[in-house]
Symmetry: C2
Subunit: 332 residues, 2 copies
Amino acid sequence: MNAQIQNALNPDVAKVLEAVQGRSLDRIFFVACGGSSALMYPSKYVLDREAKTIASDVYNANEFIHRNPATLGEGSLVILCSHSGGTKETVAAARFAREKGALTVSLTAKPESPLAEASEFVIKYEKASYFDETVAKNSDFYLMYQLVTGVLNHKEGNALFSDMVESLENLGTVYEKTKAQFLDRSKSFGETYKDASIIYTMASGSNYCAAYMFAVCILMEMQWIHSHPIHAGEYFHGPFEVLTPEVPFIMLLGLDETRPLEERALEFSRQYSDNLIVIDAKEFDMEGIADSVKGYIAPLVLNKVLGVYATAIATARNHPLETRRYMGKVPY
Amino acid sequence: MNAQIQNALNPDVAKVLEAVQGRSLDRIFFVACGGSSALMYPSKYVLDREAKTIASDVYNANEFIHRNPATLGEGSLVILCSHSGGTKETVAAARFAREKGALTVSLTAKPESPLAEASEFVIKYEKASYFDETVAKNSDFYLMYQLVTGVLNHKEGNALFSDMVESLENLGTVYEKTKAQFLDRSKSFGETYKDASIIYTMASGSNYCAAYMFAVCILMEMQWIHSHPIHAGEYFHGPFEVLTPEVPFIMLLGLDETRPLEERALEFSRQYSDNLIVIDAKEFDMEGIADSVKGYIAPLVLNKVLGVYATAIATARNHPLETRRYMGKVPY
């Protein structure tokens, strides 16, 4: 590891990498709920493409406990995440995995939380990615990628690590530029679709993360608008039959290897719809991001742009993003 | 293998099991599109719970090719499925996997199809499960479960195989009884929701298969009704905010280990909604199904019941299940 990498590497992540080096590891489980779970999809994508010996799975925390995977054990690394550190299913999942002998690592903004307490290692992140200005350093996504490419490097000698760590240092600038670039378009989106009863989202590969987060955490949770994150490859095997000129679809195009799936879905939809909202990562100025990791980093930037769209539609609808019917308000 | 099992075992499956026995195998990929993909979710669930050495993943066929998993190779078994055997992404995936040295096995109703030709082994199924009366023997689900528990048995000595094979012989009777049991309720569902613009579905664990198939293949594809299959554990981390008394949710309750997630979602929703459609596998007469596999078999029966609901809503809406806007009608 050169000095620049060593310097950029978060000390909490460094500790985990040290611990991982001394263990045999054949399995990574990504375990969380909602947005904290979707945050992990790109890491699963990276592992699928890069890991030669390590299998990985993403599970909702409560599903993980009850599914009780037979391979969970001492050869497992379980990566958990909860912003508040208080998500009860995720806390329970950390305890469950630890009892099984797995190495547990939790990402949270609250290092004094129950989740932190339940986990062997804690990685404190500074900011969740969605709304917190343009902060990128030590944000949730930033640390997840340091961690996952670091594990790949330490266990399999994968060379992506240094490109990733260096590129992440420039993520804040990319965020700033793309947010400014899409500001006008986001306002027009908000005005145009403020009365929509349903808005679909679509993507594939690592970008499915951004489709899920916007559909589920923004539209359904924060705006009470019906939605469904559609996988661009599955689109042609059912979902596309609901496409009419009126139904809005947010079409995300990333830069990873699955981009042809997203392009195919867009090309088809353009023939039959007047209400496509296209956000194409090819328009992003990715200066400072190495070519080897551009595909992996695009979903983070798509997410950041969608944060601007979220604010815009909330403003246009006069429905603040903080409004909830049930979450944190009633027992469940 | 006792004589009864040997007798019930489909000869195409038996050939695959023989081939698998002579190979080292650390990875199973389930690769298909749409309903043929959802068909595989319960098998992934079985493997997760039972397999001590074999990791597994489910991918949309086109995603699989472009994602290009690094672990795909000679130690992999790739199980594909397409009813017509002509789904072009799935055919391409079979070729792709075979080139990588994986063992390819395709389930299809058409053993003379391009998919069959592209795959090393073909398992011909007699019927797709949804609408074909009560036929269970040699149906898609039936053969998938023979195959997957057979592989577990041959590679890891897992004892579930004989219970599964024996129980599957009684699946047709279970189908018959549950279809009759839910006929009146399905008609009332059709009448009540024929004008609904959106209907959500929900389940967890192995039953998520049934939630996906009904939402995506029936409601969206065959009825042009907006939908979204929600994972019952994820429900509380976003989606539940769209719940109001008016919005219909089909709540599926299975018999597997994740049932507490489905029960929690139902219990919560009952307090705030007047439009829940509950299908609970506890009501099914599962005579002839061994206790050890009841949880795994429940999603098949849920699917069969939902087939009755599909027919009922199609009839009530006067919108035949065969009607399509795009599928098979325009280029894509």
